[in-house]
Every structure is written in structure tokens, then in C-alpha cells.
């Protein structure tokens, strides 16, 4: 496959003016990559820790939540909250994609509204889920 590196590239993220429609598109891809790699590894890790028995599961939970003194492990918490939002955002924009596939929702106003709705819904749901987790303790 010979490729001429001198050929011009089409305009990309750094050229276009950002708007909700293109933001939701690139965020769909970014959250998809984050979920595929981070989410996939963490999900398999969780299941393997569970299959490994009580001790291995306890050390996984300790790592993801807090150490024995009850202090929150900050980095895992940030990763888990980020992946929760990525999951919900990817789900919302994914549902939007399925609706767009039917040919609906391409009018300028409705398209913009739909893009912004995915962000609002995913952020609200993330906050609700994590508020209930921290409330449980």
C-alpha cells in the first residue's frame, strides 16, 4: 500500500469551530475507546478477582475503594467515576446514533438539542449514581 505523505489532510478537530453536534460525535469515539480499554480491563479484573476467592476479591475492593483506615483511594475513584460517565455518555449518544440511523433528527435545531441532551442526561445520571454510592458509604 503506497501512500503519498505529501497529500493534504482533510480539516480535523483543530480546524472546525466546536459545536454540540461535533462535540458529541468525537466524545462518542473518545468514550468508546476509554470504555473498550479501561472499562474492558477493569471489568475482566473485577470478574477474575471474584473468581480468585474471598481474599483476592477483598484486595480488589480495597484497592478500588479505600484502605484499611477508611481513607478514599483517590485515583481509582476518579477512574471509576470517569468510566461511569463515559458509559452513560456513550450509551446516550449511541441511542442518538440509532435514532439518526432511521433518518430522524437532522433538522438543525433538533440535532443540536439532541446532542446537548446526551451530555445533560449522562452528567445527571453519573451524579445520581455516585451520590447514591457515597450515601451508602
Amino acid at each position: 500500500m503506497a501512500r503519498n505523505a505529501a497529500r493534504p489532510l482533510s480539516p480535523h478537530l483543530t480546524i472546525w469551530k466546536w459545536g454540540p453536534h461535533m462535540a458529541v460525535s468525537i466524545v462518542h469515539r473518545a468514550t468508546g475507546v476509554a470504555l473498550s480499554l479501561g472499562g474492558g480491563v477493569l471489568f475482566v479484573w473485577w470478574l477474575l478477582a471474584l473468581a480468585g476467592g474471598e481474599a483476592s476479591y477483598a484486595s480488589f475492593v480495597d484497592l478500588m475503594t479505600s484502605d484499611r483506615t477508611g481513607k478514599l483511594n483517590f485515583i481509582p475513584a476518579i477512574i471509576l467515576i470517569g468510566l461511569t460517565w463515559s458509559f452513560l455518555q456513550h450509551m446516550c449518544s449511541g441511542i442518538r446514533h440509532l435514532l439518526l440511523d432511521t433518518g430522524a433528527g437532522y433538522e438543525l435545531k433538533r440535532n443540536k438539542l439532541g446532542s446537548m441532551a446526551t451530555f445533560v442526561i449522562s452528567i445527571v445520571l453519573t451524579l445520581a449514581i455516585w451520590a447514591s454510592i457515597f450515601a451508602r458509604g
Binding site: R3, V44, G53, Y57
Partner: protein, 128 residues
């Protein structure tokens, strides 16, 4: 506009010899992900406890382990299709081949490990 016969073009079979297969599989697994992961989130939120025993008891029920295995298959197939498109957009020539081979290894190994773990818990139960 000259790849194949008229009926071949109508069926979406251009020079790639396959048409909408990838696109359609991506949509199908999007739908099954939506169902199975909604199930997973709701059943996790409905669990009374999150300790080891509670999760093992939960997975020991076929009503949890079977949809969990299905979710793993659907998820890893979906991520394999999705990351393939990302790689094809940003990687060219030799690095594209390497990346796609690694992606396939990751998707198949990840799914195999996850399913093994689920079945081990489902069949062996709690271990000390």
C-alpha cells in the same frame, strides 16, 4: 461506477466483497449491549450487599451468569468492531495491520478470561 453487477451493488457488495456487515453488526451489538448492560446495572443496583458472598450467590444463579456471559460476548464484539474503525481512521500501512491484530488478541483474550471467571464462580461457588 463499475464494481460488479447492478444487483451486487444493490446488495452493498462493492470491491470490498462485503457490504453492510460491519455496520449492521455494530448496530446489532449496540442493541444487545443496551439490553444486557441495562440489566447488569439494574441488577447490581438492586443487590442488597456488595461483599464477596453476596456477589458469588448472585453469579451462581443462571439468571445472572448466563446474561453476564452474553453481556461479555456482546460487549467485546462491539468494542472490537468499534476500535477497528478507530484504528482504520488513524493508522496506516503496516502499523494498521499490527494494531488490528493486537485488537483481535485483546478482544478474544479479554472475553475468554471474563467468561472463564464467570463460569468458575458459577460452578465452583465460594472459595476461601
Amino acid at each position: 461506477m463499475g464494481t460488479g453487477t447492478g444487483i451486487g451493488r444493490v446488495r452493498g457488495l462493492g470491491s470490498a466483497h462485503q457490504g453492510t456487515h460491519h455496520w449492521w453488526q455494530q448496530r446489532l451489538t449496540a442493541g444487545s449491549n443496551l439490553l444486557l448492560l441495562t440489566w447488569l446495572v439494574v441488577s447490581l443496583l438492586r443487590l442488597p450487599l456488595y461483599n464477596y458472598r453476596a456477589l458469588v450467590l448472585w453469579i451462581q444463579s443462571p439468571w445472572a451468569s448466563v446474561p453476564l456471559v452474553l453481556a461479555v460476548l456482546s460487549m467485546f464484539y462491539h468494542l472490537r468492531l468499534g476500535l477497528q474503525v478507530v484504528i482504520e481512521d488513524y493508522q496506516h500501512d503496516f502499523s494498521r495491520i499490527i494494531a488490528i491484530v493486537l485488537l483481535n488478541f485483546y478482544a478474544i483474550a479479554g472475553a475468554a478470561l471474563a467468561i472463564f471467571a464467570i463460569l468458575r464462580v458459577a460452578f465452583a461457588g465460594a472459595v476461601a
